[in-house]
């Protein structure tokens, strides 16, 4: 299986939106490769004709009536936001520039 380079670790950190320090990136490079080595054992298991298991109970197609129902009050939701204007959650600029 693959080995992660420092650039790979930085790429995965970006995908995961984790801002990591140089020290963290360096430590993770060693630790993640050590953990990936443990995954190697799986390549010895023949699974060509084995279906994947995503869940273990035989519940399927859970349906409910499509009717409106009350949601949380606006104040209750806004109370946890880092920034709000009593109507909406305020977010930093999403597009670049001013």
């Amino acid at each position: 299986m693959a080995t992660l380079s420092r650039a790979d670790v930085e790429h995965v950190a970006h995908l995961a939106r984790l801002g990591l320090t140089d020290e963290e990136l360096q430590r993770l490079e060693g630790q993640l490769n050590h953990i990936l080595d443990q995954y190697e054992i799986l390549s010895t298991v023949p699974t060509d004709h084995i279906p994947p298991t995503a869940q273990t109970i035989e519940l399927e197609n859970i349906l409910r009536d499509d009717v409106p129902r009350p949601s949380l009050p606006r104040e209750a939701v806004l109370a946890n936001a880092a920034e709000h204007d009593d109507q909406s959650i305020v977010v930093p600029a999403i597009l670049g520039g001013e």
């Binding site: 984790l18 801002g19 320090t21 799986l42 994947p52 995503a54 939701v77 930093p92």
Partner: protein, 529 residues
Amino acid sequence: MIELTRIHAHHMAARLRRGEVSSRELTEAHLDVAERQNDRLNAWLSIDRERALAEADRADARLRDARAAGAAAVAALHPMLGIPVALKDLVSVEGGQCTAGSLILKGYRAPYDAHITERLRDVGAVILGKTNMDEFAMGSSTEHSAYGPTANPWALDRVPGGSSGGSAAAVAAYHAPVSIGTDTGGSIRQPAALTGIVGLKPTYGRVSRYGIVAFASSLDQIGPFARDVRDAAALLHAIAGRDERDSTSSPQPVPDSLLRLHASEDEAAGALRGKRLGLPREYFVKGMEPGVEERIREAVEALESAGATVEDVSLPHTDYGLATYYIVAPAEASANLARYDGIRFGPRLGEGRDVLGDYLATRGRGFGPEVKRRVMLGTYALSAGYYDAYYLKAQKVRTLIKGDFDALWAEGFDALVAPTSPTVAFRFGDRLEDPVAMYLSDACTLPVNMAGLPGISILAGLSEGLPVGLQLIGAPWSEPRLFELARSFEAVTASADWRSLEPTDLRALDDPSTPTPAERMAAIAVVDR
């Protein structure tokens, strides 16, 4: 007279019904010891005395009304009415904190009750507070909490297991008779084993997870801790059942037999007669301590002497469990934890200049080292080019692991018997620098999650003065039988000297000169912190 905090919940329930004690008295007794000792134990992240006493008064009113209405009304009361309970700090209680052991949820106040919180209110249980845990339930020692580790009441320089270490330690130290944990790879059973109490991970789908902080959604389940089997069964009865807000919760009936486990040791012991149990040889893993193996072999002898047959069986894909779990669980976690962005809830730890910079800063500073490691692993396993090699492969091996168990149920086994943890409680810092060593703590528990099965851990004796847990694993929805078997084991070992021992270091918890768990950690040079 035995202190109010030392008796079982079913004894409390009997005394509440007879009017010999009030829920307020019980609640105050537990709050007093919890508040007095928590600096040295750090089992609790929050204790809400005012709310708890208000709930206790409501329970007392319900008890008075029922007694006035007559014997039938009293008999209809749930055994959890008026009983103090501790919740792992990932269960939503409206208006209360819910940190999941993480800085990224510091200051968050849950805007609604979890389903199980509603159920506990319905039956009249009294919520004392919220307990410590590994951050986002990722860990096997509670050392990965952002709020400092929890100590083990049996040896204050050792871990209580994890991730539900606070809930386990609180029950073991008599701060609460019962508590709630969650179990994704062993997070109820392993701390139950390491603190010498009972802990059950129910069948996947048995308990609604609405209002619980999610870790790995195809594995997570909620379950009870208690100091005896009957109390654990009664607490499961209170929280189990279908809830349409969690579409994975099952309509399987929750039998009232959970409330009728035998009280007498003789009757309880009889349940083992003729039962067919399997002993999976792969669970005696490399690195298992000899003292743990001895206690498990003795437990097998006790089960046999009570009339059960115990056969050597094989779960041939067990060795692949660890690798499979450490792909599936981090992959699901990386998706579940994408929601922590510092915008809708939790502190925003960036400069507020651009949204990407804020994401990176909030998540980089808000998550601890183990959570970052798992999010990285999961993101990698799901990323373009690696999905088939890791995630899909792991899901296929998961099919084989589940198939191993299915084959044994098809052969007619009533349950499997195994160690819960390969070792007794380890010292603070011992496994922090090597993530793989920490992951091995769950080698005997995580296959059960992979297969969605119920498993229970119960005290089976001591090794080097520390508790050893026996694990019983059952077919889907077999919790009533698992509890019956565990109750039988409790009964046939009732006269063993270790059954009546109290945790060794309880007295040190009352000594102000005892170091706090954080002080103990600070004295250890650990690279990962």
